[in-house]
């Protein structure tokens, strides 16, 4: 679905992406793993077209539509979840009838159907994260990018978020999941890319059936090898 070839990006003279190559296949959950400053967020920005590359290219299947859920979502506090969804539907020029249907459907998907007319200012961090995922689903994007969806959530919130991602997976959605919580990625992702200092260290296929892969060990090993 997406092929990234030799991505190079500098910020103020510092190389944050250093020849990164990877591919995201249709229908998979692709985990992005790496320590702080590894270049995960920059990689996402590049895919979203929010930042320009110094060299390299992102090849997308035709003109795919991408839904994005940011790490720290901000929604106008005076709007209800329903109004937030309609706002983002309108800017995508989704016809009104369809926008209303998608709004209700996706708020149901993320478990916010009973809170849809509540003002966003009354939302907890977990509810905001779920609303961010719901708005990312608007317009039925071919690819979803979830940037730290469990960031700032308590244990229960994390469990709910994981369930939601698995639900999206069952619906056959392609997802790029950026997270620094190894256990969360391990339990939902099909493949994981470990990056450090903007470079690809390892790509791991996770087979959830045999449970033989220890992501934590692989991650530590990859980073240990890099740091030594």
């Amino acid at each position: 679905m997406i092929t990234c070839n030799n991505l190079v990006k500098y910020y103020d003279g510092t190389k944050v992406l250093d020849g990164l190559n990877f591919q995201v296949k249709e229908g998979e959950i692709f985990g992005l793993l790496g320590p702080n400053g590894a270049g995960k967020t920059t990689t996402i920005k590049v895919i979203l077209g929010l930042t320009e590359l110094d060299s390299g290219e992102v090849i997308k299947n035709s003109d795919i539509h991408i839904g994005y859920s940011p790490e720290t979502p901000y929604f106008h506090p005076f709007l209800s979840a329903y109004e937030v969804m309609l706002f983002y539907a309108k800017i995508q020029k989704i016809p009104m009838e369809d926008a209303i249907k998608q709004t209700v459907d996706f708020l149901k998907t993320v478990g916010l159907e009973s809170e849809m007319h509540k003002k966003v200012k009354k939302f907890s961090k977990g509810m905001l994260q779920r609303l961010a995922v719901a708005q990312a689903l608007l317009g039925e994007p071919e690819l979803l990018i979830l940037d730290e969806p469990s960031s700032g959530l308590d244990a229960l919130g994390r469990v709910e978020m994981k369930k939601m991602i698995l639900k999206l997976k069952r619906e056959g959605r392609t997802i790029i999941l950026n997270s620094h919580i190894l256990a969360d990625v391990e339990s939902v992702a099909d493949r994981v890319m470990i990056i450090h200092k903007g470079r690809l260290l390892k790509t791991v296929n996770l087979n959830h059936d045999d449970g033989s892969i220890n992501l934590e060990a692989l991650f530590t090993e990859a980073l240990g090898g890099e740091n030594s």
């Binding site: 910020y11 920005k45 979203l48 077209g49 929010l50 930042t51 991408i66 994005y68 940011p70 720290t72 979502p73 901000y74 106008h76 005076f78 709007l79 706002f87 983002y88 309108k90 800017i91 995508q92 708005q135 317009g139």
Partner: protein, 251 residues
């Protein structure tokens, strides 16, 4: 773009600062319209006709400051809270996005200006001076040109200039604009580099005083000279057009 404009207006009209300015403006207006102690250049202002221009001038001052406050923060806030990511990831053109935010600022500023003057219109109606209504409305509409120009300039500057610096610059632009005619006379009298610099500044700052003069003229049903009004509208047009090209930075 319309949903973005609407959301800016909604957000701005909920801003408490606007209500503070609004109440302040209304109090000033009531004092000016009803007080007996008001005098200008030692001449006592007694009749309602004499007080109305003062009230409009006061409201225009408050309205322009409000326009600056409204327009200063919109774009920096969008960038800071990363709403830009959510909007731009939906393949919305950067220029159109900034344009929509600017139009939102201008609309909110103009609405605030009308709200400020609403109490004056109510006063006129209550006093049974319907004969003054059209000239006052015309004057307020002309004054709104200044609000539009200021809002557009502050918005476009806010794309590139840090908030605090932009605030100082915007207040500077307002005062140079209001004293444009006076400073123009001064620049003719001053020679050398200072005179050239002042002349240059006056060329790039809109002549807000020319608009005020026409608004004052409208109050006494004097014929309106549209030339200075069109010039200020061109300033606003140029500023609004620049919003399409100014937002280049990384988000």
């Amino acid at each position: 773009m319309i949903p973005i404009i609407q959301i800016v207006i909604k957000e701005k009209l909920r801003n408490k600062i606007i209500y503070v300015f609004g109440i302040l403006g209304a109090i000033l207006m009531v004092l000016v319209s009803t007080g007996d102690g008001l005098s200008i250049n030692g001449i006592k202002i007694t009749t309602f006709e004499q007080r109305v221009p003062v009230a409009i001038a006061m409201n225009s001052f408050v309205g322009c400051l409000t326009a600056i406050v409204i327009s200063l923060q919109t774009i920096p806030s969008e960038i800071e809270r990363k709403t830009t990511h959510l909007i731009l990831s939906r393949r919305i053109d950067r220029g159109k996005y900034m344009f929509a935010l600017t139009i939102g600022n201008i609309s909110a500023s103009v609405m605030t200006m009308f709200a400020l003057n609403l109490s004056l219109i109510v006063f006129i109606a209550l006093l049974g001076r319907i004969d003054l209504l059209f000239s006052v409305l015309g004057s307020i509409m002309i004054m709104n040109i200044n609000v539009m120009v200021l809002s557009a300039i502050v918005s476009v500057l806010s794309i590139r200039i840090p908030l605090f610096l932009n605030a100082i610059l915007s207040i500077g632009i307002y005062f140079v604009g209001v004293f444009h005619n006076l400073l123009s006379t001064l620049s003719n009298a001053v020679e050398g580099p200072s005179g050239l610099l002042l002349g240059f500044i006056l060329k790039i700052v809109p002549n807000l005083s020319a608009v005020q003069n026409q608004a004052a003229g409208a109050l006494i049903n004097a014929p309106i000279d549209f030339y200075p009004l069109v010039i200020q509208l061109i300033f606003a047009y140029v500023a609004i057009t620049l919003t399409f090209f100014m937002f280049k930075q990384e988000v």
